[in-house]
Symmetry: D2
Subunit: 136 residues, 4 copies
């Protein structure tokens, strides 16, 4: 398993008139989490794009058990629980500073060739970085 | 079943550097779809808030089979397939003008009392509007 | 002078916890207005990008005299008051259905070559479309 | 003068298909800058709202001399150059890690009573915090 926690502060522009973070905004926080996880692995996302492929989102899901409000600190725990092959699944757990998990979710990404815009297997260079985390 | 189709145009600000609509933006399009469905039922969402309850999102999901690009027309088909009780599930199908479905998804909403911020059953006034659509 | 009015509905996701549209969101509405003005001229923006140049924003400004709220109709009146040369200035007036102007603003855009990313003069094909509107 | 610098990382969702940060997004970065400036003064914005007033934006402006791209660090230098009275003007300077200023701008805010939604003078508690910075 790979895991990384990143912290962000909730802005006014993230809230809606219910006084809580707008449900669609959490997918940006998920993105921030996976960006920082990839950077932590020494594999920042822009480098993937430099190598000729994209990692578009094939599926996204979020469960809202509670809600963040303006100015809250948000702790974004991002995990990869299975060695990726054609696709990669990333899980997110968003908690406040009291340790309460308020939002969970996941995204599934395909590896796509930039020119053909068609799916491809995980590039070897990426696989080599992930593999050690999933060996006993 | 209840169903309604709403049309929107994709803005430049909706795209990302992959040249397609950013994955988190689709949840705003889902919202536009359900807003128009509720208005079509004679039950615009602001009237729900006037009656003392909120309809926050408990879960949201999207599957991306293809992608919309700048300036595309997007046809948002919104459906409610089951009579709501404590929760309401709404499904979305987003297609282009060639009729190809590019993104699907759903949201699940809870009925919540505005003062207590606690879940409550579907208000009678709302139930009365939905019921006829689910009778044979 | 060139002018065009486009209508949009305010979404929940556009509001913030003050119960009004978030100030930064209006720049998306400005974009929607200028998109529709360009389309009305027979010059949709994507065609400009197809011809090898971008029209990035050099300056943007908004004055907030009042505020739009959830579910309001917004009438976006977009005008070009001077024949563009190296730059083009576009003005916006956003009013509600009672005819009250709530937000005004403008954007200034440069014509930029896509390859060199450097400023260039207005392309002839674009100039020809604008010129007749500024002749007496 | 009061000044504070805050750092943020550019997300994928902040970019558009031109490959740069969407012009309207910078107003969220301005907000992040002024939030952190107010917190640095010991006056976080939510405390203002707790005291019965809002600080809505009356005017906003941005000049784009260059552009931030995905994954860039952005240094947001926020300054207040004049002691506020009925209104407060805040200036922003956004630079990359090479020290180049790419975007500048300002916002003007009114002090507004939450109940009446009408303008009011700067609250004494706020004035007391600002005053020492403007004395020689």
């Amino acid at each position: 398993m790979i895991e990384f926690t990143h912290r962000l502060r909730v802005l006014y522009g993230h809230t809606d008139q219910m006084g809580i973070v707008y449900y669609g905004r959490y997918f940006e926080f998920f993105e921030a989490g996976r960006n920082e996880l990839l950077r932590h692995l020494g594999l920042p996302y822009y480098r993937m794009e430099d190598q000729g492929f994209y990692l578009p989102v094939a599926e996204a899901q979020a469960s809202y058990k509670g809600s963040f409000t303006y100015d809250d600190w948000m702790n974004i725990r991002t995990t990869v629980r299975e060695l990726p092959s054609v696709r990669i699944r990333i899980d997110y757990e968003l908690s406040n500073d009291e340790g309460t998990v308020l939002v969970t979710g996941y995204t599934v990404h395909a590896f796509v060739d930039q020119k053909s815009r068609r799916p491809r297997r995980i590039p070897d260079a990426v696989l080599q970085i992930f593999t050690p985390y999933f060996e006993k």
